[in-house]
């Protein structure tokens, strides 16, 4: 591999990291809100796929991709609220309900998505940040979708809000100790319901990015586990919104490895590189399960780490 090819791969990976990371970022931020409240929603994969379908259908029928994004968020919100409501019932296991919603959400998406596989819907426009360089590869890599910046802004806002607002405090208290929240007169079920619904909304928006920007079409193999990886990523990011952004970028880069190598003609092992994000997630989970700092920062009520 010459230095020129290395440059192309690097640029393609940076561009890919920006493109691929956005859905990870939204799902991870949503899951952070949910997990901070002491509940885990493994079903965000379902929200992501349903969001992708609804966004595509919405954009196709209204002609406005941003309206599609909003509709995707609302679809995710409904699924999240259902999850939140069911999990407040006694004896119901939130992890199992998450698996059920994964299958329910994808089932609904596949059912209603059939007519939208063929037609082409208006996509989200990218912001061209690299035109001034005059280099096609860089220009291509720096076509950034506005949702990417929305995600980063949201991460900063959440980071600030968790630490500095009344809502942030209530959320963290509910997640760390249900007993103290109850003593303060906070309705735990309501906080968790709202947190799960908000998480579902963000996961739906993440799905909209998949179908309306990159890869930019609706089909049934669109997500393949990205929603689930994002849940694992939250554990790796130790429930910190800013670290979620870094982790999402890392995952994006891993996901872009296969296509980047293909762009310089290395197609051998394409399928192997496709597995890179999964393998990376697994190793990250092994590493973070051992880490003492993760154990210190985990919300105390979370069933997944008990």
């Amino acid at each position: 591999m010459s230095s020129n090819e290395l440059f192309i791969v690097l640029i393609a990976m940076i561009g890919g990291a920006i493109r691929v990371s956005t859905p990870f970022m939204f799902v991870a931020l949503g899951e952070t809100i949910t997990e901070k409240s002491g509940r885990i929603n493994l079903g965000l994969e379902g929200n992501l796929v349903l969001g992708a379908m609804v966004a595509y259908a919405g954009s196709y029928s209204t002609g406005s991709p941003w309206l599609g994004v909003l509709m995707a968020g609302c679809a995710g919100l409904v699924l999240g609220a259902m999850h939140g409501y069911i999990c407040k019932l006694p004896k119901v296991n939130d992890i199992a309900v998450g698996i059920a919603f994964m299958s329910f959400g994808t089932g609904l998406a596949f059912f209603f998505g059939k007519p939208y596989i063929q037609p082409s819907a208006p996509k989200l426009e990218a912001i061209l940040l690299g035109e001034w360089t005059g280099n096609t590869q860089i220009a291509q890599a720096l076509q950034v979708n506005p949702l990417f910046f929305v995600g980063i802004a949201l991460a900063v806002f959440l980071w600030w809000a968790f630490a500095n607002t009344r809502w942030g405090l209530i959320l963290r208290m509910t997640g760390d100790s249900a007993a103290s929240a109850r003593a303060m007169g906070v309705s735990i079920d309501l906080v968790r319901l709202l947190a799960t619904a908000a998480g579902g909304f963000l996961a739906g928006v993440g799905g909209a990015f998949l179908s309306l920007y990159y890869p930019g079409s609706w089909n049934e193999g669109l997500s393949s586990g990205q929603g689930l990886m994002a849940v694992a990523l939250v554990i790796f990011a130790r429930w910190d919104p800013i670290r979620c952004v870094y982790a999402a970028l890392l995952f994006g880069a891993a996901g872009a490895l296969g296509p980047a190598l293909q762009s310089i003609g290395i197609s051998q092992g394409y399928y192997f590189f496709n597995a890179a994000p999964y393998i990376l997630t697994l190793f990250i989970m092994i590493a973070s399960a051992q880490s003492k700092s993760a154990a210190r920062e985990v919300p105390g009520e979370l069933s997944i780490v008990k």
Partner: protein
């Protein structure tokens, strides 16, 4: 004294705790199924379709004729095995959702094992068991790995097993699209066909392959293992309370990995039958969602290996009738997925009723009527 007197008439009819558990374990899942059917009917009515047509088509397509019954049984065979693959680790307290990956990798291992055997002209009597063993071994290692990571590294088994599934599918794709691709498979990259001599025929008098028999035998064997042996007792005790099991000196790590390996063995065997009896080679058709439906089967069977069998047959019928519904009602094949999703959500919601059905409660001492 008055309290005692008022208690007397109530005492004439009481169910034992065991009976109450059994009634609950049947009543609540059946109730959940009925509730799901009602919800799905409403869904159909909103779409302007007739629920009566739908359910009668499911009946016709699943059990209406000798052909459809055999089709149903054919499809329920892998579901029994993947249902067991979820149910056994669930008894020890693990939520493992990686059966899909173990099935795919097991099937792939069987197809790869077949290549030297078929080209070397080894007789199927020796070759087929070798294929089955390699499929089971690969499956056992794959799911066992998730159990090992859980116990010795503290990695959440639900997420890791699903990740391992995706990795398994990627491994198969990698080889099937590259190194082990049969040049004859132009449109759908596959491994070398195992050939007619290696194909497992149907069971005598039916068109159903032997996977069904294997599933039934394993279901009974695992039921006995989990409820009548020391291993099963220790596993269930670990599932109930890990710390208590450790305090008793039980080899918890061995039990966890063992249960996971059994699960992988079942899923791998399902993969073997998919290759040796259905597809004749390993390709993307192995990724058919049997592993995921198996999770639902096990939940509905309340992790009881024997109950897995009828539930798997029910979902086999649903899958078998899917095509008929698609053709007659003009509905997409994902209709079955929606119904499964609804059943899944309602079923887990129904968990909340255990121990809370008013007329089934054993009265505790000192409680007034």
């Amino acid at each position: 004294m008055t309290v005692v007197a008022s208690d007397v008439p109530v005492a004439r009819f009481r169910l034992g705790l065991g009976a109450i558990h059994t009634i609950e374990a049947i009543l609540i899942p059946v109730g959940a199924l009925i509730a799901s059917a009602i919800l799905f009917s409403i869904f159909l009515l909103i779409l302007g379709k007739s629920p009566i047509t739908f359910f009668s088509l499911i009946w016709t397509g699943g059990f209406g004729s000798a052909f459809s019954i055999q089709n149903t049984l054919q499809r329920s065979a892998p579901l029994i095995l993947t249902g067991l693959a979820f149910a056994i680790p669930a008894r020890i307290g693990l939520t493992l959702i990686g059966a899909e990956g173990a099935l795919v990798l097991g099937g792939f291992a069987a197809a790869v094992t077949a290549i030297p055997l078929v080209t070397g002209g080894v007789t199927p009597v020796i070759g087929l068991p070798l294929m089955a063993i390699s499929a089971m071994a690969v499956g056992a290692v794959w799911i066992g790995l998730a159990g090992w990571l859980r116990h010795y590294r503290g990695v959440n088994e639900t997420i890791s097993s699903l990740l391992l599934s995706y990795i398994a599918i990627a491994i198969m794709n990698f080889f099937v699209e590259g190194l082990l691709r049969d040049p004859g498979s132009a449109n759908k990259p596959s491994t070398m066909p195992i050939g007619d001599a290696y194909r497992i025929g149907p069971m005598p008098g039916t068109s159903v392959h032997w996977g069904l028999a294997a599933g039934l035998v394993l279901a009974v064997a695992l039921y006995i293992l989990m409820s009548r042996t020391t291993f099963g007792f220790a596993a269930r005790m670990t599932g109930g309370n890990v710390r208590a099991a450790q305090a008793q000196g039980l080899p918890v790590g061995m039990l966890v990995v063992g249960c996971c390996a059994i699960a992988g063995l079942c899923a791998g065997l399902a993969g073997f039958f998919e290759v040796a009896a259905v597809h004749g080679q390993a390709n993307a058709s192995l990724v058919a969602g049997y592993g995921f439906t198996g999770i639902l089967v096990a939940f509905l069977a309340r992790q009881n290996p024997l109950a897995v069998v009828p539930v798997a047959i029910m979902f086999g019928a649903l899958a078998a009738a899917g095509g008929l519904v698609q053709r007659r009602m003009g509905m997409p094949d994902a209709t079955v997925l929606v119904l499964q999703g609804i059943i899944f959500v309602v079923l887990l919601t129904s968990e909340t009723f255990y121990g809370r059905i008013p007329f089934l409660q054993a009265r505790r001492s000192g409680e007034r009527t």
